[in-house]
């Protein structure tokens, strides 16, 4: 009954406040609706529950576990009116499977047993942190639309909110809704984002608290190429006496959680669908990316090697392969799969190469697959060959184009940045980004590029007594896209700041990461940044439909436990 009432209220709100704001409100109300279910089974430290994606459940969703209370009976008729239920614990969804989900208890799980009734977002303490100063009315509507939540009053909630949006504050609530000028996020008590929505256009809402206009930042010098539309900022020396351009950039929105800690991901558009191949080093998941994430298939490479590289390859329209670079014990154990009917079909496994795919003609399809041998001293070997497949037979041929000496098939791309009609080769290696015209180096960045979790240590002479330990890193390839709409591609690259002193075989040692932009302008390359810095390594990157999608990964413990990833979205549309 309460569900129906909530939806009716939400619909009324839509009619009153206009479609844009209502869209956000409607979405959040729909997503936070109470959904009843049951605990199916305790599994290790978690519980299985009988709800899944088909019920609208997603990772991070919170359930209260019902403690049945005394029956409430009518004093005259004796009819059972209901029960005085309480809550004996909270569960948070960690993994959504087909037909059921995994959920971990928040707090002591002792009282939770098989058969317990659960209800999503029911009876939870909720608070609303408003960083716009204009969201009280929105809060009121939200509270009215979600009566199953026990809302903290607006005023006290603002008094206890942390100084910065996204910071973990002290709260007694189970659920926190955070409203900023950029977005609306639903977070758990630890600050982790469960769901994210565009910010409702509060300014359009009539309010007694009219927003105070924010002073426009002082612009040092307008960029000559479409500066108004550019979603990134380029490094420019400030003009004497001026203030440097420091406009705040919009942040990222969370699209979803792939379900494991991704160490490498790659994206491809196939039949108008956006697919992501992602690996945690052990499994490979193929997921469809839309408004959310849907897992199409999941495989383990034969022999259980450590997967470090994933590259989609489309040698012709309608034909999609996934090239997997993997390592086992003392040698490469890579594989090539054909993706067909939402399944990965092995073409060949236990291969000695590392793979990388490239779009040399700039048509948006990576038609070229290159294979590189593993050299025990250099890791990236000196033999690079072009791959072709006929049936299940792989052929390796000398590429018809020139490659630079420090070329690596991983962490590289080919794109015509200079507009001379020939693609340059871009390589991220050892923390540097190189751009080559043929074999000639035309640009080298500072040591701030890359920073991938896809790495492993290996022995240079595995049979020897005294052998150096080397390490291999497979970086996320840069992506070329016209970010500012000037008709020329810019380069979008994962960048990071890592410590100088490191044990690189074990850890990427990334202190912060961000998306760097490289633009060719006035016969030189100018570097800039897109969006904000993050504390997590970035393990996958693409630009699709005026959106930058990338994967941020919180690495697990050294023992391989825990860790998770989020697919983040940055809209280029303005």
């Amino acid at each position: 009954m309460s569900t129906r009432v909530s939806i009716v209220i939400a619909v009324l709100l839509v009619l009153v406040t206009g479609t844009v704001q209502a869209g956000t409100l409607e979405e959040i109300v729909q997503d936070l609706q109470p959904v009843p279910g049951y605990v199916v089974l305790p599994v290790q430290d978690e519980f299985l529950i009988d709800l899944a994606a088909s019920h609208g459940v997603t990772n991070g969703d919170l359930f209260s576990v019902v403690a049945p209370g005394e029956p409430i009976t009518h004093p005259v008729t004796g009819k059972l009116l209901g029960t005085l239920d309480g809550s004996k614990g909270l569960l948070q969804v960690t993994q959504v499977k087909s037909g059921f989900s995994h959920a971990r208890p928040l707090g002591q799980p002792g009282a939770i047993v098989r058969g317990d009734a659960i209800r999503r977002y029911d009876g939870l303490r909720a608070t609303f942190w408003d960083y716009t100063g204009q969201g009280e009315e929105f809060y009121g509507r939200l509270k009215a639309a979600l009566p199953a939540l026990r809302w903290q009053s607006y005023g006290p909630a603002q008094a206890e909110k942390p100084g910065q949006a996204g910071a973990v504050g002290k709260t007694a609530s189970d659920l926190v809704v955070v409203l900023t000028a950029r977005n609306l996020t639903v977070r758990d008590a630890s600050g982790s984002v469960i769901r994210s929505y565009p910010a409702p256009p509060l300014a359009a809402v009539p309010s007694a608290m009219a927003p105070v206009p924010v002073a426009a930042p002082v612009v040092a010098a307008p960029a000559p190429v479409a500066p108004a539309a550019a979603p990134y900022r380029l490094e420019q020396p400030p003009a004497p006496g001026s203030v440097r351009y420091e406009a705040a950039f919009p942040g990222f929105q969370v699209l979803g959680n792939p379900g494991f800690a991704v160490v490498m991901a790659d994206f491809v558009r196939e039949n108008s669908e956006l697919l992501m191949a992602a690996t945690d080093g052990a499994r490979i998941k193929i997921q469809k990316i839309y408004g959310g994430i849907n897992t199409l298939t999941e495989v383990e490479v034969a022999g259980l090697p450590q997967v470090v590289g994933l590259h989609w390859w489309q040698p012709q329209a309608g034909l999609v392969y996934l090239a997997v670079s993997a390592w086992k014990d003392t040698q490469m154990a890579s594989a090539l799969y054909r993706f067909e009917n939402n399944r990965l079909l092995p073409i060949s496994e236990n291969l000695s190469h590392l793979f990388g795919s490239f779009d040399r003609d700039g048509d948006g399809r990576r038609e070229t697959l290159l294979a590189q041998n593993m050299d025990r001293e250099l890791f990236w070997g000196t033999v690079v060959r072009q791959v072709s497949v006929q049936g299940n037979r792989i052929s390796l041929n000398t590429p018809s184009f020139e490659l630079p000496r420090r070329f690596t098939v991983g962490g590289s791309t080919m794109v015509d940045l200079t507009g001379n009609g020939k693609p340059e080769t871009v390589v991220v290696r050892d923390g540097l980004l190189y751009i080559y015209a043929g074999s000639k180096e035309i640009y080298r960045s500072a040591k701030l590029m890359g920073g991938s979790l896809a790495r492993f240590p290996y022995q240079v002479h595995p049979q020897a007594y005294y052998t150096p330990t080397n390490f291999a890193v497979v970086e996320v390839p840069p992506v070329a896209a016209d970010l500012d709409g000037d008709g020329r591609p810019e380069l979008l690259v994962v960048a990071s700041d890592s410590g100088m002193f490191s044990a690189p075989g074990l850890s990427a040692n990334v202190r912060k990461s961000w998306l760097a932009v490289l633009k060719y302008r006035d016969n030189t390359f100018v570097k800039g940044n897109l969006g904000e810095e993050m504390s997590n390594p970035l393990q996958g990157l693409t630009v699709q439909d005026q959106r930058v999608l990338f994967v941020a990964t919180e690495p697990g413990s050294v023992f391989g436990k825990g860790g998770e990833s989020q697919i983040l979205v940055f809209s280029l549309a303005h």
Binding site: N350, Y465, M500, A503, G560
Partner: protein, 470 residues
């Protein structure tokens, strides 16, 4: 201790200086904690040494003292208190300092150990002298040829796993371009500790010079072939025999000087074909040993080695079949030295626990792929199964033989025995593994000949380690 202070001062200086020089500093380690138990722990030590040149000439051999001495160090017969257990550390660390492009790299590496728990190097309180300089070299990309690198100093050597994989001081030029890679190297070795208190340069009788050339062709499919030649010569002057480390008084009494010149010509390869993978090595050894004294002659060397192994991967299980043959010297009176000799090899690839190196290496019966000058003939087969991504079990059978009969006063024969090995391992975290392997050797007649009674006992040995590599 002084060395230790110097090393730590170097590390500190590099670490402090590096930021100002915009260099990258990488820290690598191989921290190996090993444990071993054997029913005959007196055999868990180096009896046959890879750096020793075994000779039998004029009816005398330079190792028979091991077998006949009254304080017999080798007895394959189980004696009282032979069962024993040890724990040992072998910690290696190296610091690599390089520029951003890795055009120049300086490496300093140290080894702490090997030191067994409770021996003189590691009593309660520790802090004894068990420190070794392992690497100290500079690796430079040549400015006029980006494909070339010059490596100067005490550096890792990895020419072939059956012949020479260790460290050596010298200079090596390496070039890799496309499918081809090649190198030239010069290295110098001390002769039996003769230069302990002297610098080389005017003592040509007391060091070995090794000159190496090798060439590798990598096929498009990643398979490769490597051909190499190594010439090692003692120098112009004859070697004084007394400093040579030959242990048999009988041969020492016959020879006053010996000069050894050796040439190894080798071809090796490795490759993968679908689920099959394999590797092989074939080496021919030629050269001569010139002796002075009662036995004064030139003895030609003529020996060879072959090793091959094929692996077949079937889902989570890999099956292995391999063989090793090193020629031995059957007749000590024919004027030819037909036994194969290695420079500084490893035997861990064989997978034996009782005879060759395993998880507690440096503590094996033989460090070379042969027994004395009798060569070796070995067949092995096994399987390894991945239980999970982090856990595995393995099993292996090895049929050990010498190439020629091992003859002692207690008997003779060529069958060392049949060995059965079981193993398991678990990756605790990235770089950190725990492994255990246990071997049981059913003694053969050659093993019997190495006993004090003519009848050896079977041997059980188990090795384990917890190893952290990064």
């Amino acid at each position: 201790m002084k060395k230790m202070r110097i090393a730590l001062a170097t590390l500190a200086a590099v670490a402090v200086a590096a930021p100002a020089m915009a260099l990258n500093v990488e820290w690598h380690g191989d921290l190996n904690n090993r444990f071993s138990y054997s029913t005959q722990a007196d055999l868990s030590k180096r009896v046959v040494n890879d750096t020793h040149n075994y000779l039998s000439v004029g009816g005398f051999s330079n190792y028979s003292g091991i077998l006949t001495s009254t304080t017999r160090p080798v007895d394959t017969k189980k004696n009282r208190k032979d069962s024993d257990f040890f724990g040992e550390i072998k910690y290696r660390m190296n610091l690599d300092v390089s520029d951003d492009d890795k055009k120049v790299k300086g490496v300093v590496g140290f080894e702490f150990g090997s030191a067994k728990f409770g021996n003189a190097d590691m009593p309660f309180g520790g802090d004894q002298n068990n420190f070794e300089l392992m690497w100290a070299y500079t690796d430079i990309q040549l400015p006029f040829d980006q494909a070339s690198r010059l490596i100067v100093g005490l550096q890792p050597v990895g020419y072939n796993y059956t012949l020479w994989t260790d460290n050596a001081g010298g200079v090596k030029w390496v070039r890799k371009d496309g499918n081809w890679g090649y190198s030239l190297g010069w290295f110098r070795n001390d002769w039996g500790g003769a230069n302990k208190n002297d610098a080389g340069g005017d003592k040509k009788s007391e060091y070995d010079d090794a000159f190496v050339g090798d060439m590798t062709y990598t096929f498009n499919n990643g398979n490769s072939l490597n051909a190499f030649v190594i010439f090692m010569d003692q120098g112009r002057e004859a070697k004084t025999f007394a400093n040579g480390g030959f242990v048999d008084g009988g041969l020492a009494g016959q020879i006053t000087d010996a000069r050894d010149s050796q040439i190894w010509l080798g071809l090796s390869g490795k490759g993968k074909w679908n689920n099959f993978s394999g590797l092989f090595t074939g080496i021919y050894l030629t050269g001569e040993v010139k002796t002075k004294g009662t036995i004064e002659d030139n003895f030609d060397r003529e020996a060879y080695l072959f090793h091959g192994q094929i692996d077949y991967k079937m889902d989570k299980t890999t099956f292995t079949l391999g063989g090793l043959y090193t020629s031995g010297d059957k007749n000590p009176n024919d004027g030819k030295l037909k036994n194969f000799d290695v420079i500084d090899a490893t035997t861990g690839f064989i997978g034996s626990v009782v005879i060759f190196d395993n998880l507690a290496d440096d503590n094996s019966f033989t460090q070379a792929p042969y027994l004395f000058d009798k060569g070796y003939a070995l067949l092995y087969a096994g399987a390894r199964h991945e239980l999970t991504k982090k856990a595995w079990v393995s099993a292996r059978y090895l049929w050990h033989n010498t190439a020629e009969d091992l003859v002692t006063a207690q008997g003779s024969g060529d069958e060392v025995g049949h060995e059965f090995v079981l193993g398991a391992g678990y990756q605790i975290m990235k770089g950190l593994t725990a492994e255990i392997a246990a071997g049981y050797l059913i003694a053969g007649d050659a093993w019997d000949a190495l006993s004090s009674t003519g009848k050896a006992d079977d041997v059980f040995r188990t090795d384990a380690n917890i190893r952290f590599r990064f």
